[in-house]
Symmetry: C2
Subunit: 340 residues, 2 copies
């Protein structure tokens, strides 16, 4: 594993993007997003994505110099056209507008349609939590991946959801998860390593559980939704509030782009902010200090693993596996970007 | 099983409540809520609850003649004090205020603290969907029931969530579920029948899966949250946005009352309403007409089972099991209410 300094990765990723035609701003935002994902340990959404982004840029499916545009704008709500541009730009802007509106109206709600790949969802609600608000960010994933409960046809997306809540004297609680049992990226990794999948991730073409990734990739199977009828209900909720509400559409009507909804809730409009954060601190403290289950070494909060990984990787650098690093070197060299 | 006419059950429940001191309005709203729950097949939240409500009224934990009061009121948000009154009153009022605010500001968000038992959650977001809005209703359940992931201490509530989304030419999609694997009421039913629980519902005092309800009721165990770290993250989200945001508090700070958040989203502020409803119709049609998994006879949408049960029970009446019926007769007789 080559271990890389985060600042070096940031510079390299920026240089690759700029060489591909991105503006300084675009390159900086995307590079920061990807390197931060690596720092949090979410390597599937880290700098390796640059390879895919360059392909999308080349095919014209992700456009540089095409910033998001507000197409509907009311007091507490807005709708944003991502204009097939960089998803991180649209997602960040949506959350920033939501925060601004929540400052004045208590809540701000912004939908996005026609956005490029939005990246690691967890990045956005935290922007609200840093401003002492509750942040919510939901995405309707492209269709054709997951089957409805009791069905076998891959109609639905892996649609993920994310939130962040501020806590006194602590970083926010945040969580970010797909409504399928496993994100598609993880299954791809298992397949590339030739490993069988854990039970329950994938269904074959008859809708039966399978441990072979190719039942999904090659033989007409689907991804399983998590949590039975509850995860199914959540997945359809995201089809509604991110897919249909943004105007993007449902199921496979958005083959490559992302649709999303960002919401900021201004705590001070509902209760005393200091009391709220103290309540959340009490929650966190009680859980963290409670006795672990037999066989478990500690009780964690959502976000804990990511915060720990961040501390470790900031100090020791970011591990990138050899194959991923070779892919990055290849795109860099193709664009005549020097790799140290 | 005695089969009862819904209108008769409505009259009887109203009469019992009025005999216990409820106003005509209070009695009508609660009776309608309970009978509708029975019609939807959700008997755990049906007329049998009257027995428990009367006990709460007697103990002074649920107050009659104590309507909810808006204590913070801004343009798009409000906070409601349930004043230990009838929960159905507070919940309905919160959703109605949210709808009113959403008419003008695109979204309306109302939190509730200090409310009596709110009943079947699914009843409230549907009020928004009937007005062509998306409805959301989340509750923070009393603490002391569920353990955090990896833990063994019953710190958290069964905190349920619910939403409804309008669909063209169809009743809304709606869903209503606890963030524990099973609602507590279902476990109580299994216990009363002396049946072992399905694997995964309950954890013993060491945090290990158990099939014995008494590991939860008598021996310091806990309820398991659904869906691994995802259900755990959702449960904590509800602690935040319903518990802390309403001012009620977290964990066991609200021993008997409910805290909640109601939100209405006015679709027309984001996209064309007709297009939205058509999109949802397309979603529903594609799913319903898709091939079922092997061993499954059809593919359903959230709410389908409830709508079918409603149709059947409106025609054939409501089955109430003998023990439950006897309990209802007992409270009626105690209050000198005639039972036909």
């Amino acid at each position: 594993l080559p271990i890389k300094d985060p600042e070096y990765l940031q510079r390299l990723t920026e240089a690759i993007l700029e060489a591909a035609g991105a503006s300084k701003d675009e390159a900086a935002i995307v590079a920061d997003h990807l390197v931060t994902s690596n720092l949090y340990g979410v390597d599937s959404h880290g700098v390796i994505r640059i390879v895919e982004y360059l392909q999308l840029i080349e095919k014209g499916e992700m456009k540089l110099g095409s910033p998001p545009e507000v197409v509907r704008n009311f007091k507490a709500t807005a709708n944003l056209d991502g204009r097939s541009g960089i998803g991180q730009l649209a997602a960040k802007k949506a959350m920033e507008i939501a925060i601004e509106k929540a400052s004045e109206y208590g809540t701000g709600t912004v939908t996005i349609f026609n956005s490029g790949h939005i990246g690691r969802l967890g990045a956005y609600p935290v922007l609200a939590a840093q401003r002492d608000m509750v942040g919510i960010f939901y995405v309707k994933g492209k269709g054709g991946d997951a089957s409805p409960m009791g069905g076998r046809k891959a109609l639905l997306g892996t649609s993920p959801m994310s939130y962040a809540i501020p806590v006194q004297d602590s970083p926010p609680i945040f969580s970010d998860f797909a409504t399928t049992v496993s994100a598609e990226g993880k299954i791809r990794v298992m397949k590339s390593k030739g490993l069988p999948l854990p039970e329950g991730w994938v269904l074959d073409s008859k809708g039966k559980p399978s441990r072979d990734p190719d039942d999904f990739y090659k033989r007409g199977g689907s991804l399983a939704l998590f949590g039975g009828h509850k995860g199914y209900a959540l997945n359809l909720f995201l089809e509604g509030v991110a897919g249909a509400l943004s105007g993007a559409g449902v199921l496979d009507e958005i083959p490559s782009a992302n649709a999303a909804i960002a919401q900021a809730i201004n705590i001070e409009f509902f209760t005393d902010l200091a009391k709220f954060k103290k309540n959340m601190k009490h929650l966190v403290d009680e859980i963290r200090s409670s006795l672990p289950a037999e066989g478990s070494s500690e009780v964690l909060l959502p976000g804990d693993i990511e915060y720990r990984e961040m501390t470790k990787r900031k100090e020791k650098g970011i591990d990138i596996d050899d194959a991923a690093w070779q892919d990055i070197i290849d795109v860099a060299e193709k664009l005549h970007v020097m790799v140290e």
